[in-house]
Amino acid sequence: MKWKWFILMAVLLLVGCSEKAYEPKEVNPETDICKVCNMSIAHEDYAAQLVFKNGDYEMFDDIGCLMEFLEGTEESEVGAMFMKDMTDNEWVDVKTATYIYSKDYWTPMNYGVLAFKTKEEAEQYMASEGDGELLAFDDLKTFNWGVHH
């Protein structure tokens, strides 16, 4: 009988220690506004969001606003970050996504940075537009956010 209790406790312990999965929530254009610039999320294709470990969410209309918010946020409080993929409009993990930048790409804040799930999709998009520069998440931390045209 004792070993059953032992297994049960072990399972509970393992469940408790496992990493929490954070899910993105869908944009509500009626009520969601960007935490940084206050703009309504009218263009969902460019939206980003940050999920705190305590379950709170913050929405952003542009990846540049999320990066600005991140500067003043404790990293230990951040559970996950998501941004809309340009190809299929699905949420992608901000840390693993591939980014492209061009001053001619329109985004709600005109920062010109778009996200893709894979590098291939990003390169394909650049080829179709005839313009762009590949970036990774670490590049966004030092990126000169602002309008460039």
Partner: protein, 426 residues
Amino acid sequence: MKKIVWLLLLLCITGASTGAAQVVDLQSQIDAAEEGSVIQLEKGVYEGNVIITKSIFLEGENGTVMKAHADTPAILIENASDVAVRGIDIETLGTGVTVRRSNEVKLSNINMRGVDTGVQVYNSQQLLISSLAIEGNAKHYAKKGNGIGIYNSASIELFENTINSVQDGFYIEGVQGITIHDNTVTNSRYGTHFMYSENGDIRHNMYTQNVTGLMVMMTEDIQVKQNDVSYQDGFNGTGITLYDTKNTLLQSNHIEGNRIGVSVQKTVDVELLENTFHMNQTALESVRSEESNTAMQNQFVGNLVNVRSDQQGLHLVNNYYDDYNGIDLDDNGTGDEAYVALQSFGQWMVRKPVYQYFIESPSVVLLNTIDKQTNTTSKVLLVDESPATMKNQGPTTSFQLQLPQLVIGLVLLIGCVVVYRRSVRI
């Protein structure tokens, strides 16, 4: 009998042919017209999606309708100079008018109903757009275009337009030198939305029932005067939002019934002068802003919270506050004690807007009472050292002697006295 039947049939055919609208191919008329000519359009229905690439004055009389498909703009003006379009009703589900790389273009008295986007202007200069009536479709504002969008252009004047139910009434991006006056924008996301622009003059407009009346972002040298910004009262309703702006003047605007009257965020050198803030949930909020921002001689009446800030970032000078309790012994119109904005709950509301729903709850009333006691000792607060004790009553009439009226009055008076004396003598 047969003859009568044939006659009736003939009459029916004739009647049907005259009753149906005759659709005129306008593009061929434009192509045939000479540079600088005037094309007068008689009342009727014209086939749309026309392209204008030369100097032309297109004028329709009352009842001129253009029907166009939604794939391309109903009227496209491209690489042209000195073009005017006036007096046309455009029927399309897409874009009404697009102007690209053109100069000296005038659009006036154009009506559009159910359009996705009204007018779009790209890389153009010297435009006058006036007296347009633009009614967007019934979709959510996230799913439709702007009323009038101006991109990377200069020297623009937009006036006396009426815009309803679009994404942004006026969307201004990368524009240098623009005047927007005497327009009305309702039921849209933003009444006017500035991005990355310079030198704007916004006067005498009415913004009501939008998410935000006026949204100014990353823009320099803007003057906002005598606008009526009332009842942006939805969940995120804000009268005027300034975000990351420099050198902005807000003067003599009437800001009433909004969730937030004016929100000043990340800004430098904002001057709020002689505005009236009536019955807003929060009249004025300052977020992450520089201390160079000043609010002077404004009137705060009937607002739940007059001023709040997440830090200092705002100088209050000689404003009238209806919740000011001080006295003015020397009767100079300025209170003898400083006005201190109730801050604790105001700051919480800046950080967590949902706290607005607890305003005037017993616990918040208690907090405000404690605040009043604390405010007398603390220095790190929003303080107006010279609060006005009387509302600005508007211009007063000074005494002026009207000589003709005085003479007539005296003559009448003397006449009355003479008549009275004579009557008494009798």
